[in-house]
């Protein structure tokens, strides 16, 4: 990994945007298998950063470091740092409780996975965990989150109905609302549209654009066109390495690395 590729010359106008999280020399192991090799990249405040790359390149692994969801499984190991700024907290440090990390970082998974409860209770789930009990506050924050996820108008009359009555696309937007309700510092989206049809996908892409006024978004996608549509910054990963990071437009139109060029022009992946 050459330092030059991390700060490409054409990314300079972006340098003014403050950094919300800084990945520094992050390596990750599943048992003996090293899935990430010294990844370093910034995550800009209130921007969408996309992570792209072929299957098995480590993009989801990288994303799942941000909320320590890896810690649920035995035999994993982190090295390096994912530092939240300006707090200066290293999210992957052993001394940092993963629950504290997850209270600050929201996540949406590949497949819509609402809880088998009502729509309201799904969105309020994260608020209950944080000890929010007052009905008025819950109501307000549930509505706000549902509006952010562009779902409010569709469900406002049936908040007490089961989340399983919703369509797949609505369920995924519900999961986005659930992650947004506690007002996370970072929102992680792990291929959020890979299980959805094109119309549902378009709705989610649209709403992601609106989220960045409130929250910093990291999205993993195998769909390059999606990365180009929704993100301001893109990281290209291959075989556990970060190959190139830059603002989305230049990464797609004028990549500095040969592997990036081959990938974005569809020569492999």
């Amino acid at each position: 990994m050459t330092p030059a590729s991390l700060t490409p010359a054409h990314a300079s106008p972006a340098a003014e945007v403050p950094v919300r999280a800084e990945v520094r020399d992050l390596s990750f192991w599943y048992g003996k298998f090293q899935a990430l090799h010294g990844v370093s990249m910034p995550v800009r405040d209130r921007k969408v950063t996309a992570i792209i790359g072929p299957s098995g390149c480590g993009k989801s692994t990288l994303l799942r470091c941000f909320n320590r969801i890896h810690d649920l499984y035995p035999g994993i190991r982190y090295q390096g740092a994912v530092e939240l700024q300006p707090e200066g907290l290293n999210l992957v440090d052993r001394s940092v409780d993963p629950i504290l990390v997850r209270l600050m970082v929201g996540m949406v998974f590949q497949k819509p996975n609402p809880f088998p409860k009502s729509i309201y209770e799904n969105v309020a789930a994260g608020l209950y965990v944080r000890g929010v009990k007052a009905r008025s506050e819950l109501d307000g924050r549930v509505e706000h989150a549902l509006r952010q996820a562009a779902l409010w108008d569709e469900v406002k009359d049936r908040l007490t109905k089961s989340a399983y009555e919703l369509s797949g696309g609505q369920q995924q937007r519900l999961c986005i609302a659930r992650a947004l309700a506690p007002e996370p510092k970072l929102l992680l989206l792990d291929e959020p549209t890979s299980a959805l049809d094109p119309i549902a996908t378009a709705k989610i892409e649209d709403l992601i654009g609106g989220l960045v006024s409130d929250v910093t978004v990291l999205i993993v996608t195998h769909n390059m066109a999606q990365a180009a549509r929704v993100s301001q910054y893109t990281a290209f990963m291959h075989l556990g390495n970060l190959v190139e990071f830059g603002d989305t437009e230049s990464l797609f139109t004028n990549p500095t690395q040969e592997r990036t060029r081959d990938y974005v022009t569809g020569r492999f992946g």
Partner: protein
């Protein structure tokens, strides 16, 4: 090169269908055989015992005269022992199953425990009876009481409840856990709010299957020395003054329906054999009601999870 327009040869389809037919016929024959055996058993019991079942049979104590004998002490004993068994075995078994599945680290120790729990489910029930006789009755000097009866049956069905709990918990999708953890839930919150409600139908089924096994058990209860003839009821669990609950019944001697049956069958008079058949029918009915309840509750819970 095969002719692209050629159909697969007729013989292929014919042979496959013949195999289907042979298997289907075998299946039906075996099924009929088993069902008719079972039906014979039940019909035989009904012919002998159905006429004996009346309100007096349920409210009379055992007697020297077959016509006056009833199963009051037996069904009350069975009910109370089942109560103790359920109260002990379900929380312990569910707790152990949850711990093993959600909390315990995977390793040699947890493997050994897993194998042992599965094996315990296959230990003959009389072995549990001997354990209870030696440990509870003699060593702890507790006597052949309802409490000891409930405890030995609880031990007997504990592995069933543990295994059922583990299986139910394991079948909760990992995505549900991941999404709960990603909201910042602690392990307890994940288990209590999300895993347990989803696993409840399976756990409940396991618990009732266990209780249904316990209700028919005779060997361990006889081994601990439960009485075979008993003409009084345990003290009432409810009393008139504060605190209204009374636990003296736990210390009472008892009998259960299978023992009462066994006792009557071993007598020469035909009248007692009728009584035994009637008791058997009632025992069967109790088991059916329990299983029916389990199916009903499971159905309700599954529906409430979906809608």
């Amino acid at each position: 090169m095969a002719d692209p327009a050629a159909l697969p040869s007729d013989g292929l389809v014919g042979r496959a269908k013949a195999q289907d037919l042979v298997f289907a016929v075998c299946g039906v024959v075996v099924l009929l055989l088993v069902m008719s055996l079972l039906a014979t058993l039940v019909i035989d019991l009904m012919r002998d015992g159905l006429a004996r079942i009346d309100p007096e049979f349920l409210t009379n104590f055992p007697s020297r005269f077959p016509g006056r004998a009833g199963i009051l002490s037996a069904w009350v004993g069975t009910t109370l022992v089942m109560l103790v068994t359920g109260v002990l075995a379900i929380p312990l078994g569910v707790g152990a199953g949850l711990y093993l599945e959600e909390y315990a680290r995977r390793g040699v120790l947890s493997d050994i425990i897993e194998i042992n729990v599965s094996n315990l489910a296959g230990v003959p029930s009389i072995i549990y009876g001997l354990l209870a006789l030696g440990f509870f009755v003699y060593l702890l000097n507790m006597g052949p009481t309802i409490l000891v009866g409930g405890m030995v049956l609880a031990l007997l069905i504990l592995p069933v409840v543990i295994v059922a709990t583990r299986e139910a918990v394991r079948s909760v999708p990992g995505s549900l856990r991941e999404s709960a953890y990603s909201l910042g839930c602690t392990r307890w919150q994940v288990v209590w709010r999300y895993v347990l409600p989803s696993a409840r139908p399976g756990i409940l089924t396991g618990a009732i299957v266990g209780l249904s096994r316990a209700i028919g058990e005779t060997a361990p209860i006889i081994t601990i020395g439960a009485l075979t003839f008993i003409a009084f009821l345990p003290p009432s669990p409810v009393k008139g003054d504060f605190p209204w609950l009374n636990f003296d019944w736990l210390q009472s001697p008892f009998t259960v329906m299978p023992i009462q049956m066994f006792n009557w069958i071993s007598r020469p008079q035909a009248g007692f054999h009728e009584n035994a058949a009637a008791t058997g029918l009632l025992l069967l009915a109790m088991t059916l009601v329990m299983n029916g309840t389990a199916i009903f509750i499971r159905y309700r819970l599954r529906r409430s999870l979906r809608t």
